[in-house]
C-alpha cells in the first residue's frame, strides 16, 4: 500500500510537467488549428537557458541557503521564460503565421523543420551529450506518512501547478483570455467583434512557449541535465496527452498529463521501468480504438 501511494505521488509529480507541456501544445492547436512541432524544442531551450544561467553564474550548486536558492530558482525561471517567450513570438511571426491556413500539414511541416534545426543547433553549440545542470534547490527529502518527496520534485510540481492555475485564470477570467476562447471557436466571428486575431495568435504562441520554457527549467533541474534531443520523447508523450484528452477542455489535458505520469510510475514501480515509455503509446492506441475524439471530446478540425 505504501508503495502504491509513493508511486502515485511520484506519478503526479512527473505528470504535472507532462501536463504543462501538453497544455502548450493544446492551447496552440485549439486556438490556431496548428500543431507546433517546435514546441518540445522550446522546452529544450528552457532547460539549456537554465544550464547557461546557472553555470554562467558559477553557482556552487550545494551550500546555498534556502532563500538564495529560491531566489535563484525564480531568477532562472524568469530568464528562461523571457527567452522562450521571445522565441515563441519569433516562431509565430516567421513560421506559423505565413503557413497558417486551411491545409493543416503546412505549419506542421514548417515547424518540424524548425524543430530539427533547433535540435541540431543545440547539438552544435553544446555537444551531443547531455550537459550537467547544477541543481540549485538544496536537496532535501520530505517524508509525510511514509511517502518521500524530494525538494526538487516539490519545486517542479508547485511550478507546474502555478502555471496551470495562471493559464486557467487567464483563459476564463480575463478579456484577452475570453477573446482567445472566441478565436478558438470561431475566428471570423471573433474578428468581426473587434478581436485582432493576429495578436491573439502571437499571445497564444507566446504563452505556450513560456509554459514550455518553465517546464524545461523544472525538468532540467530535476534531472540535472539538458540534452539536444530531450524534447523528442517528452514532446511526443505530451503530444499524445493532447490527443488523448481531446481539445475541448483545458482541464482534460491537465488530467491526462497527470494520468500518464501516474500510470508510468505504476508501471515502473510494479512491472518494469523498461516499459515506462511504452505506456503513452499504449494509451494512445487504446483511445484511438475506442474513443478517437479524445477522452473528453473535441471540436471538429
Amino acid at each position: 500500500m505504501e508503495q502504491f501511494v509513493q508511486q502515485l505521488v511520484n506519478g503526479i509529480m512527473a505528470g504535472s510537467t507532462y501536463a504543462v507541456v501538453a497544455l502548450g501544445f493544446g492551447l496552440v492547436f485549439s486556438v490556431m488549428r496548428v500543431v507546433n512541432l517546435a514546441h518540445p524544442e522550446i522546452f529544450m531551450i528552457g532547460a539549456y537557458v537554465a544550464f547557461l544561467v546557472i553555470s554562467g553564474l558559477h553557482v556552487p550548486g550545494e551550500g546555498l541557503n534556502v532563500l538564495a536558492a529560491v531566489a535563484l530558482f525564480f531568477g532562472v525561471l524568469l530568464v528562461a521564460m523571457l527567452a522562450t517567450g521571445a522565441a515563441g513570438l519569433v516562431l509565430e511571426r516567421l513560421v506559423i503565421r505565413p503557413t497558417r491556413g486551411t491545409y493543416i500539414l503546412t505549419p506542421f511541416i514548417a515547424t518540424a523543420g524548425v524543430s530539427i534545426a533547433l535540435q541540431n543547433s543545440a547539438q552544435r553549440l553544446f555537444g551531443p551529450d547531455p550537459v550537467r545542470v547544477p541543481s540549485v534547490i538544496p536537496p532535501h527529502t520530505f517524508t509525510l506518512g511514509g511517502v518521500r518527496v524530494t525538494s526538487m520534485q516539490l519545486a517542479t510540481f508547485l511550478t507546474a501547478v502555478a502555471i496551470m492555475l495562471a493559464l486557467r485564470y487567464y483563459v476564463h477570467s480575463t478579456r484577452w483570455g475570453r477573446a482567445t476562447r472566441a478565436v478558438a471557436e470561431k475566428p471570423d466571428v471573433a474578428a468581426a467583434c473587434g478581436v485582432n486575431v493576429n495578436l491573439v495568435s502571437q499571445l497564444t504562441v507566446g504563452i505556450a512557449s513560456i509554459m514550455a520554457g518553465a517546464a524545461g527549467v523544472a525538468l532540467g533541474l530535476l534531472y540535472t541535465s539538458a540534452a539536444p534531443f530531450m524534447g523528442l520523447l517528452y514532446g511526443l508523450k505530451s503530444f499524445i496527452c493532447m490527443l488523448v484528452a481531446g481539445n475541448r477542455h483545458i482541464e482534460a489535458i491537465m488530467a491526462v498529463g497527470l494520468l500518464l505520469g501516474v500510470v508510468e510510475a505504476m508501471v515502473t514501480g510494479y512491472i518494469s521501468s523498461n516499459l515506462r515509455d511504452a505506456v503513452a503509446f499504449a494509451l494512445l492506441l487504446a483511445v484511438l480504438f475506442f474513443r478517437p475524439q479524445g477522452l473528453f471530446g473535441s471540436y471538429e478540425v
Binding site: 478579456r175 475570453r178 477573446a179 476562447r181 472566441a182 471557436e185 470561431k186 471570423d188 466571428v189 471573433a190 474578428a191 468581426a192 467583434c193 473587434g194 478581436v195 485582432n196 486575431v197 493576429n198
Partner: protein
C-alpha cells in the same frame, strides 16, 4: 446626401468562381436595405467582403467616406460596422454574458459598455434570464437574439445581417423583423441579405435583387413588391 455605405464594382471570387460580379449598392443613414436572392446568389459574399472577411478581387467599399476594402475585420468593426452572421454563430462555449462582452471587445470596457449590455437585455429579456448559461444551450431563436444583441454591443452605425430568418419559426421571424424596425428607430442603419423576400420587403426601405452574383434590379420596397418578377419568383404569386 452621400451614402453611409457605398459599394462600387465589387468583385469577389473564390479561385476561378466569380461569386460577386461588379456589384454597386449603397445604404443611406437611417435606412434598412435588403439584398434579395436565392441560395448561392452571392449575398453572403457581399456581406463578408464589406466586413473584411474576404478580400475582394476588385471594386471598393466606402463607409462614411472612408475606404474599407483593404482593412482587416477588427478594423472594420472599429469604424462602426457590426456583423450578424448567417446561422447565428454564437460562441457556444462562452456564456450569454460573455458573448455580449465579446461584441463590445473593440471598445474599452467601461460604463457605456455596461449600459449597453443592460439595453440589449431589456430588448431581449430571455437573454437576461439566461445570462450565465452557455450560449450553445440556447434555442435557435434565442441564439439569433444573442447574435443580434452581440452585434449591437459595439454601438455600430451599420448592422450587416446575413439571412436572419434562416431556420427559424415564423413567429420568431416576425419578431426579428419587427426588431429591425426598432433598431432603425435607434438610428442604426441595416443592410440585410435575405431569402425571405416577403418579410424583408415588409421592413426594408429599398431592396436589391441579386442573381448569380449580379444586381438584376433594385427599387423601393413598394416598387419591388409590385414587380411581376418578384411576385412570381420570390413571393409565390
Amino acid at each position: 446626401m452621400s451614402a453611409l455605405l457605398q459599394v462600387s464594382g465589387l468583385e469577389v471570387a473564390y479561385g476561378p468562381v466569380r461569386a460577386v460580379r461588379g456589384v454597386d449598392l449603397e445604404v443611406h443613414q437611417g435606412e434598412i436595405r435588403a439584398i434579395l436572392g436565392a441560395n448561392g446568389a452571392g449575398k453572403s459574399s457581399i456581406i463578408r467582403a464589406i466586413m473584411g472577411l474576404v478580400k475582394p478581387r476588385g471594386g471598393t467599399v466606402a463607409f462614411g467616406g472612408r475606404a474599407l476594402h483593404k482593412l482587416l475585420p477588427h478594423k472594420v468593426n472599429g469604424w462602426g460596422i457590426a456583423w450578424v452572421p448567417e446561422g447565428r454563430q454564437v460562441f457556444s462555449t462562452l456564456t450569454v454574458e460573455e458573448n455580449l462582452l465579446m461584441g463590445a471587445f473593440g471598445r474599452r470596457h467601461d460604463q457605456a459598455t455596461d449600459a449597453r449590455q443592460e439595453q440589449v437585455m431589456d430588448m431581449f429579456p430571455t437573454l437576461r434570464e439566461r445570462r450565465k448559461q452557455l450560449a450553445g444551450s440556447l434555442s435557435g431563436g434565442e441564439q439569433q437574439m444573442l447574435a443580434i444583441g452581440r452585434a449591437l454591443m459595439s454601438n455600430p452605425r451599420l448592422l450587416l445581417m446575413d439571412e436572419p430568418s434562416l431556420g427559424l419559426a415564423p413567429k420568431v421571424v416576425r419578431f426579428l423583423f419587427d426588431l429591425a424596425l426598432e433598431i432603425r428607430a435607434r438610428g442604426i442603419s441595416i443592410l440585410m441579405a435575405e431569402q425571405n423576400a416577403r418579410q424583408a420587403l415588409r421592413v426594408a426601405d429599398y431592396a436589391y435583387l441579386l442573381e448569380v452574383g449580379e444586381i438584376r434590379g433594385g427599387g423601393s420596397a413598394r416598387e419591388m413588391e409590385a414587380s411581376e418578377t418578384i411576385r412570381r419568383v420570390y413571393l409565390g404569386g
